[in-house]
């Protein structure tokens, strides 16, 4: 059974202009309880890789540059 690529809109947004992951910062990736954020190998910026969000906000609260915004997942907003 082959797997499909079904798209979903993700709740966590990263402002790439503010994100300093390319300087070595991994705070948002480190603190996420569900471990859904990663640093993109393409852009060297943080992004939400897995749509598995509890909209709890440590990523946003702990980001040193205010680059992260947590929105309410579409299915429940």
């Amino acid at each position: 059974m082959p797997l499909a690529n079904t798209s979903t809109t993700v709740p966590v947004l990263v402002d790439e202009g503010k994100c300093i992951a390319d300087k070595g910062c991994t705070v948002c990736v480190d603190v996420c309880p569900l471990d859904v954020l990663r640093i993109s190998e393409l852009t060297n910026k943080a992004y939400m890789k897995f749509d598995e969000c509890w909209y709890c906000m440590p990523c946003e609260a702990d980001c040193p540059t205010g680059a992260v915004t947590v929105n309410i997942p579409y299915l429940l907003k």
């Binding site: 471990d35 509890w54 909209y55 929105n71 309410i72 429940l76 907003k77």
Partner: protein, 578 residues
């Protein structure tokens, strides 16, 4: 990151604490304080800095027994009645005697508790009988304060390791645990003289009405591993049929926080804006009335603050939107709802196991000892009823102190190397398949079935159908689940815990042939409470590889409950005016 790597390493410690949320850090800290020479390891699936139910903080203590405001006897009585008589009082009483010391200790850690103009603790009444709710003005700093103490005490922290099974020796004593790294799939065996499990609720059991797998009431990382691991290690679990079901903000699924709003004059109302329950403290009996109102012509149910002065409503909003679940403000912004303008629609949560609010947990005594020698449990996953955050801290402290003393008296227990190899194969099986069913689909289906068949009201025939359907999903999970990277493997392992918990929820519910705890165990084909046959615990365990249940007597009460008092929590509904 996330590529699957081969690897197996082993470490040794005196005390292993699994789970770094609330009870776990306190257990590790207390163990280390009691014996600074002991090697204490704290294992965490996420990151201790921000893990567990209090990831972002907590707005108050819901069960503070503070001299001058309430007594341990009064609290023990309240919880016994709230939990419909099924309560080993020794653990509740001991908690009530010692929780004030923990409050003072947390105060020293820098966590502030609200005081009035006389410098006295500003305790609020929310419960049916006594006064136990204490606001925390800087509640958003709890995890940071705890983390500082862990660093200072030199606790060894291993983040991003998910424990999958406990190890026991031939004698039946605990020997350690097997864990897998959630980003590399490398294995870690931790040998330990004693093990404390503080792995939180089984919060991903039912499916939220939104259909979003992670839109749960509990922190979605709390997927019930503690319950499943204790079960497979042969520990007994108590009262799993006493589900957790909570009142909450519909769709957002966060707590409605009548505990916060109540003391300011907010309350739970029906669609006419009328109060229908006497007391907003969460209990199965209260939830039954909530459920009845929800489905009645007066439904749905709302959090009502719009009768309050705008400043008061705004103040409540400010607390609720900054501490425990701060994204709540964003949710209301999106809906265009303001507390001072409109009542907020509420609903009931999906089902789960969580002794923090109800009573389902790994069976423990008043020292947090499980039925497996050397194995402890504390917090939301241990059976001390209604223990909330302060209970997790206090019982975590008991666990830490007892576990480090136990470790001082024994040597490492040997474990079977073959067992570790078998466990690695079990865990890695979904990564060996070329294709199959991904964990998220298995999880969705299992949890949808939990809603369809196990959610109260409980009907025997529906339960039997549910068990059969869940068995089919289990077959898919064991033979066809596929995980393509280490992250997906973590989700796959969580699904195995979720299915174990679903099976336990069904099995324990069918065993107790009566109704008790209001909505939590409402069996429509056994609608009456039957004290003669069922005023006892139900203990579930794995014996000879099979799930079994047994009755276990409630220990004689330390604080007597009179006939007139025992049903106080059934008198929740406000009487209609003549």
């Amino acid at each position: 990151m996330d590529e699957i790597k081969d690897g197996l390493s082993e470490i040794e410690c005196d005390v292993l604490v699994i789970g770094g949320g609330t009870a776990g850090p306190m257990a590790a800290y207390k163990a280390k304080m009691k014996n600074p020479d002991a090697k204490v390891v704290l294992l965490e699936k996420a990151n201790v800095k921000r893990s567990g139910a209090i990831s972002m903080g907590m707005d108050g203590l819901n069960n503070a027994v503070i001299p001058g405001h309430s007594t341990p006897e009064q609290y023990t009585k309240e919880i016994t009645i709230a939990n419909d008589g099924i309560c080993d009082q020794a653990a509740v009483y001991k908690y009530a005697q010692h929780c004030y010391e923990i409050i003072e200790e947390l105060d020293k850690f820098g966590i502030r508790f609200q005081k009035d103009e006389n410098g006295d603790y500003d305790v609020k009444k929310v419960h049916h009988i006594g006064t136990y709710v204490l606001p925390m003005p800087n509640g958003e700093t709890v995890k940071k304060a705890l983390y500082r103490q862990l660093r200072r005490a030199r606790i060894l922290i291993s983040n991003r390791f998910m424990a999958t099974r406990l190890l026991k020796g031939r004698s039946g004593r605990i020997a350690g645990a097997v864990a897998v790294n959630t980003r590399t799939a490398e294995f870690l065996v931790v040998r330990a003289k004693s093990v404390i499990m503080s792995m939180g609720a089984a919060g991903r059991l039912g499916l939220p009405t939104s259909g979003y797998l992670y839109g749960t009431y509990e922190n979605a990382a709390n997927s019930g591993e503690g319950y499943a691991m204790a079960y497979h290690a042969g520990a007994k679990l108590a009262n799993l049929e006493c589900f957790q079901i909570n009142p909450l903000i519909k769709d957002y699924n966060g707590p409605s926080c009548a505990y916060v709003a109540g003391p300011f004059g907010g309350f739970t109302a029906n669609s006419r804006g009328e109060r229908f329950i006497e007391c907003d403290y969460w209990s199965g009996q209260m939830m039954q009335e909530f459920y009845n109102e929800l489905l009645s012509g007066n439904g749905p149910v709302f959090l009502k603050l719009n009768h309050l002065h705008k400043e008061t409503a705004d103040h409540i909003e400010q607390i609720l939107h900054t501490v425990e679940r701060p994204s709540r403000g964003r949710f209301h912004e999106g809906r265009g709802t303001r507390y001072h303008e409109t009542m907020i629609e509420m609903h009931i949560s999906e089902i789960g196991f969580c002794s923090g609010h109800s009573a389902s947990g790994v069976f423990v005594d008043d020292c947090a000892r499980t039925t497996v020698p050397g194995l402890y449990a504390a917090g939301d996953m241990a059976s001390v009823p209604h223990n909330y955050m302060l209970g997790a801290f206090t019982n975590g402290a008991f666990a830490g102190e007892d576990a480090v003393a136990f470790a001082g008296e024994v040597d490492f227990e040997d474990y079977d190397r073959e067992e570790v190899a078998r466990e690695q194969e079990r865990v890695l099986a979904p990564t060996r398949r070329e294709d199959g069913i991904p964990p998220n689909q298995i999880e969705y289906k299992a949890r949808r079935l939990v809603n369809d068949y196990l959610q109260p009201p409980k009907v025997t025939r529906k339960y039997e159908l549910g068990q059969a359907r869940l068995a089919e999903v289990r077959d898919d999970m064991e033979n066809h689940m596929v995980a393509r990277d280490a992250h997906e493997l973590m989700r796959a392992m969580e699904v195995t815990s979720i299915l174990d918990c679903a099976d336990m929820a069904a099995f324990a519910s069918l065993y107790r042939e009566e109704s008790r705890w209001g909505l939590y165990h409402w069996r429509t084909d056994h609608p009456e409470r039957n004290d003669e046959e069922w005023k006892c615990h139900v203990l579930l365990s794995k014996q000879d590889g099979r799930m079994t249940c047994e009755k276990h007597p409630v220990q004689p009460y330390i604080v007597p409950i009179s006939e007139e008092e025992k049903d106080a929590y059934y008198k929740q509904r406000i009487k209609a005016e003549a």
